[in-house]
């Protein structure tokens, strides 16, 4: 039995453990859950240490030792990578001070750097990668056909009314905002229903894959 076959069989067993939740919370379900979470966490730590700390911090610093033997074109790159790695290492070390509340302020620099950079990137991406393209796409809606025109109107109305329905004001009975809110909530309900259906589709896909894995495992066992 190859390791892949053992993996299939083990995967099938754990799949059955997870599916045992149908009869309620039990040890098999918890065991499988713990194994999945633990194995995933351990694997994540290993990946982070190897791929992040080792590759992005240690290797650039160690590369300085061989910078002399490197080509003159690569030496500045090696030094620059080492400096960046050193800065990242320093910021990472400062983050360790967050473990002790008394010295937590030392790590504020690193946190500030992370939050600042992340906010800047997220904000820029949201503005120029989501909002602006979406507005532009909406504005460029095709009205060449009747169907497209209707769909474009529906999308526009649905987007605006949904945004209005999320407004922080009291819905008035019988007023214009009452209808807007109702239309907005309708569009929102359609979107959530479609999302739920697609989630269900994704879940069914996963169940099918797992069922087939179990069947394959059974076939391996039978064989």
């Amino acid at each position: 039995m190859t390791p892949d076959q053992i993996g299939v069989i083990v995967g099938a067993v754990f799949t059955l453990f997870i599916l045992s939740y149908l009869i309620g919370d039990n040890f098999l379900y918890r065991f499988a859950t713990h194994i999945l979470v633990g194995a995933g966490a351990g694997y994540i730590v290993a990946v982070v240490v190897v791929n992040v700390f080792g590759s992005l911090v240690v290797q650039p610093v160690l590369a300085l030792q061989t910078a002399g033997s490197a080509s003159p074109q690569q030496q500045p790159v090696i030094v620059a990578n080492a400096i960046v790695a050193g800065i990242g290492l320093l910021l990472g070390i400062l983050l360790l001070f967050k473990l002790r509340p008394r010295w937590a302020f030392v790590g504020n620099t690193s946190v500030g750097y992370l939050i600042g950079v992340g906010a800047a990137v997220a904000l820029g991406g949201a503005l120029f990668g989501t909002l602006a393209p979406q507005i532009e796409a909406t504005a460029r809606a095709s009205v060449t056909s009747t169907t497209d025109s209707v769909l474009t109107v529906i999308i526009l109305v649905g987007t605006l009314f949904t945004l209005v329905s999320f407004g922080f004001y009291r819905s008035a009975r019988g007023g214009i905002f009452s209808g807007i809110n109702a239309i907005g909530r309708f569009f929102l309900s359609i979107a959530l229903g479609a999302t739920f259906a697609l989630v269900y589709v994704a879940s069914v896909s996963l169940l099918i894959e797992r069922t087939q894995a179990v069947v394959d495992a059974l076939r391996l066992i039978v064989k």
Binding site: L36, P133, L198, S205, L206, I208
Partner: protein, 942 residues
């Protein structure tokens, strides 16, 4: 002391054997009981063994030269000092024939009575000449006294016979006109001196011993006498010679004065002596008394007789101490006895500061008068007893006395000190009782006393017997503590007032000639509240003697403070008694009146007040109600309570409960369905699970598939909203595609289908694949997916490059695009969540690498990522397993049956299972909606 005849050792009185040589001491040194024969100390009145009264036995034992027949109870005369020198052993003198005439009053007393009678008339100012005119009947010494008042510088013509320590007054009284007892005293004095008379030896056994007793120390004084001594000097100091007007004297003080000055109730009111009258009287002769019924006086105890008014006593002879009777005997007026001042005893010398002024008169009056005259200073206080020191301490320090008498008795020194210390105040400031004390004495002196037949002078023999009955303490007091102060009158009607008391009152009264009154002592002023004016002038209210309280110890002397209380409480009775006694009610001072509770207040005070039952004052009575006070000040009490509703109280209770509840995680409230419902719910779950599993397994069981389900190779293109085929087919073998595996093993069953389609196409086109992941688990899935393709396809290492995990999410994507943006031609994002698609779509737009982005997402993220595809940001969009199969068919990537039948079957089974499950789910949803509507309609209809 008893001196041993053999060794001469001094033994204590009453000792039977010598302490030094054990020789038997004379039995005469003690008083042998007539009943049991026990030798008792001379100070004993009763036998120590059998209790028999020793006084008669002592009287019988007294060796008197001529025992007189028993006589009827005589009226005691004014108690006059018979105190010899403390250290002098005086011998009795021969009784004078004049003294044996009871019906004959002494001349000086007659003069006093005459003067007093004349003093009763306010307009009678001729009393002085009458007294002077009657000087022939008075003793010579008294006559000299009278003369000395007007002629202070009288010098005795005859040289004084040396009489040793005999007091001056005793020397002065050595006259033939003296009563017998007085003559005996005179003889006693002279015998002790250089001029001893035969009578001295005859009475030596009886008189020497008692009178030779040293002055008892103050500490040995009985308590009542000590208390009396405390009061007496003050009283003496405050005795007023003239009657005071009704004043604001407190009742208790008035009563006290009444008690002290009215030993006999039936005394006849005597006119008060006026200063004018007193000016005519010689110094030291103002101690006549008022006659009192003898039967009442007989009941009077000795102490009362000693402390009461002289004239108020007419006690039985056997009850009267001898020394008192001796004191009541007329003084000796021996003109020839003008002793040298240097020969007088020291204390007597000291008592006579005015001896230089009037040497003919006894020293003691001068000594007493000196303080009142405010001319003498106080003697040294070395010998002053403590109680007198304390008494005198209240007064200002005395002024140095010109004739400082070091041997002066302590008590007298203290009394003088007190008298000196007291500033001469008007008479009006003296309290009533002191005025009464003085006035009663003066009144008695001023009252015309008619000699009665039954009044007889003291019989020598009887006097001796009476002297034997004197208690030791009195004897000591009379001998030592109370030196002779005043020459005794030959005979007074009835008086048992102690010499010191009467003498103290008399000189003070006499001194009132020059000084209108005596200031109130400090101790009395201290009783008054601050700011209260001094006690207003009092009037001589007591004009008659009052009966003394029975018993040996007077109540007023025992507890002066307590005597005031009953006088207060029994106000009406006291007033009635006072009125009946001829007393005028004193005017209560304002400060004392303010202190007197009214009847209402008394009744209120008597009412028991209930103790507080609650609050901080619980259990404490007499607590002022604060609410009442606050109400008076602030008006109506404020409303302290807020009207609360029941729901507010409930909310407050809940809030209080929340505050007091232990901090713990709230227990989740799980509404357990009923058993039938649970069974139905569980059955429903199992049914759905079985249907789903069955729907999934049916395609596997039926490899030919279900005919009503679409085939994989016949999927519509509508399943691909934005086909990536164009972007994928544009890639060449030199192209580099960045494939991002942003999903984890949980979504691997779905996304692996999509990744396989894309990777298969990339491998097919021999495109360099650089794999990265924003999820830590992504790189492993990428390797597995890539190597899964290697099952029949061997790739080179340069075609597949796993960049690994890229941390930082959007930052990592940006960093990765920045780093490899220029190297790649296409970005394929295999994402399980719309966030990952957003990150890549945004960063691709931001970095402006202008590279196409193809997204293969899970079906669950389709709705949220599809807008990016519609906007053109995503050039290709594949969603779910069905989308992957659709793209595979479009890209012609599906294996055919001939090449890979198994893969074709698996794809079809997967597709059939997916479709079947979706249909099943759609049916279940529809059934559920219908059942719900039906059930709701049924409930409404029912």
């Amino acid at each position: 002391m008893v001196y041993c005849s053999s060794c001469g050792t001094a033994n204590r009185d009453g000792s039977r054997f010598c302490n030094e040589c054990s020789a038997k001491l004379p039995s005469s040194t003690g008083v042998r009981c007539s009943k049991c024969g026990t030798a008792n100390p001379l100070a004993n009145v009763f036998c120590d063994k059998c209790g028999t009264r020793l006084v008669p036995a002592l009287a019988e034992d007294a060796s008197m030269p001529e025992p007189e027949p028993p006589v009827a109870p005589i009226k005691k005369g004014l108690s006059l000092p018979t105190k010899p020198a403390a250290t002098g052993s005086m011998t009795p003198i021969e009784p004078s024939p004049a003294a044996s005439q009871p019906e004959r009053a002494p001349d000086w007393l007659s003069q006093l009575r005459t003067a007093s009678a004349s003093a009763s008339d306010e307009e009678n100012e001729a009393a002085v000449p009458s007294n002077q005119s009657d000087g022939t009947q008075s003793p010579d010494w008294l006559a000299r006294l009278s003369n000395s008042t007007s002629v202070p510088a009288a010098v005795p013509e005859k040289p004084a016979t040396p009489v040793g320590d005999m007091p001056d007054w005793t020397r002065d009284t050595a006259s033939e006109d003296q009563p017998e007892w007085l003559q005996r005293i005179a003889g006693y004095s002279s015998a002790e001196g250089k001029d001893q008379s035969p009578a001295a030896t005859s009475a030596e056994d009886t008189l020497i011993a008692p009178q030779s007793q040293p002055a008892a120390p103050v500490d040995e004084l009985p308590d009542w006498l000590s208390n009396l001594g405390v009061v007496a000097p003050s009283q003496l100091d405050r005795s007023e010679p003239e009657p005071a007007a009704p004043a604001d004297v407190p009742d208790w003080l008035s009563n006290l004065g009444v008690v002290a000055s009215t030993p006999t109730p039936g005394a006849t009111p005597a006119p008060a002596a006026t200063p004018k009258d007193q000016t005519a009287q010689p110094r030291g002769t103002r101690a006549p008394s008022v006659s009192t019924p003898p039967q009442e006086a007989a009941e009077e105890p000795d102490w009362a007789a000693a402390t009461s008014l002289p004239g108020a006593q007419s006690a039985a002879s056997e009850d009267v101490p001898a020394w008192l009777r001796d004191m009541s005997a007329p003084p000796l007026t021996d003109e020839t006895a003008t002793p040298e001042p240097t020969e007088a005893p020291d204390w007597l010398k000291n008592l006579g500061p005015t001896a230089a002024v009037a040497r003919d008169e006894p020293d003691w009056p001068s000594a007493i008068d000196v303080p009142s005259e405010s001319q003498a200073a106080q003697p040294a206080e070395a010998e002053v007893p403590d109680w007198l020191k304390n008494l005198g301490a209240a007064a200002p320090p005395p002024v140095a006395e010109p004739t400082a008498s070091e041997n002066m008795p302590d008590w007298l020194r203290g009394m003088r000190a007190s008298a000196d210390a007291q500033p001469v105040a008007p008479e009006a400031e003296a309290p009533d009782w002191l005025n009464d004390l003085g006035s009663s004495t003066l009144a008695a002196a001023a009252q015309p006393v008619a000699p009665k037949e039954e009044e007889k002078p003291a019989v020598p023999g009887q006097e001796s017997a009476e002297e034997a009955a004197i208690p030791d303490w009195l004897r000591e007091l009379s001998s030592g503590t109370l030196p002779s102060i005043q020459p005794a009158a030959p005979e007074v009607e009835s008086s048992a007032l102690p010499d010191w008391l009467s003498d103290a009152a008399a000189p003070q009264a006499k001194d009132a000639q020059a000084e209108p009154a005596i200031a109130i002592p400090d101790w009395l002023n201290e009783l008054a509240p601050a700011g209260t004016p001094a006690v207003p002038p009092t009037a001589a209210r007591v004009e008659a003697a009052q009966p003394a309280p029975a018993g040996e110890l007077p109540e007023w002397a025992r507890n002066l403070g307590k005597s005031a209380v009953p006088a207060r409480t029994g106000k009406d009775e006291t007033l009635a008694a006072v009125a009946s006694a001829g007393l005028t009610q004193a005017e209560i001072p304002a400060w004392l009146e303010a202190l007197r509770p009214t009847e209402g207040e008394t009744a209120e005070a008597a009412e028991p007040q209930e103790a507080e039952k609650e609050g901080v004052f619980a259990g404490i009575s007499q607590v002022l109600p604060p609410a009442a006070i606050m109400g008076e000040v602030q008006g109506a009490p404020a409303k302290l309570f807020i009207e609360t509703r029941a729901e507010d109280l409930a909310r407050a209770g809940i809030f209080q409960e929340l505050l007091t509840r232990a901090t713990s995680a709230p227990t989740p409230i799980v509404a357990l369905p009923k058993r039938g419902a649970r069974i139905r719910q569980r059955a429903l779950q199992w049914c759905i699970a079985v249907l789903l599993i069955g729907a999934i397994l049916v395609p596997s069981i039926l490899p030919q598939g279900l005919g009503f389900l679409p085939k994989a190779d016949n999927l519509p293109e509508t399943l691909l909203p934005k086909s990536p085929l164009k972007q994928m087919t544009s890639l060449t073998s030199k192209s580099t595609v960045l494939v991002v595996f942003d999903y984890d093993p949980l979504q691997a069953g779905e996304l692996d289908q999509i990744a396989e389609v894309f990777l298969r196409q990339l491998r097919k086109q021999n495109v360099t694949v650089k794999v990265a992941s924003l999820n830590p688990l992504g790189p492993a899935l990428a390797d597995r997916a890539w190597h899964k393709l290697d099952a029949g396809y061997q790739s080179s290492d340069q075609q597949f490059i796993n960049l690994g995990y890229i941390p930082g999410q959007s930052i990592g994507a940006q960093n990765l695009l920045d780093q490899y943006g220029a190297q790649i031609d296409l970005v394929i994002d295999l994402a399980a969540s719309p966030d990952s698609v957003r990150w890549w779509a945004e960063q691709v737009a931001v970095t402006q690498i202008n590279k196409p982005l193809i997204v293969g997402v899970s079906a669950a993220a389709q709705t949220l990522t599809l807008p990016y595809a519609d906007s053109g940001q995503i050039k290709g969009f594949v969603s779910g397993v069905v989308g992957a199969l659709a793209y595979a068919k479009q890209a012609n990537l599906l294996p055919n049956v001939s090449s890979n039948e198994k893969q074709v079957v698996q794809n079809q089974v997967h597709l059939d299972a997916q479709n079947l499950a979706q249909w099943l789910l759609a049916i279940l949803i529809g059934v559920g909606i219908i059942s719900g509507v039906v059930s709701r309609t049924g409930r409404r209809s029912s």
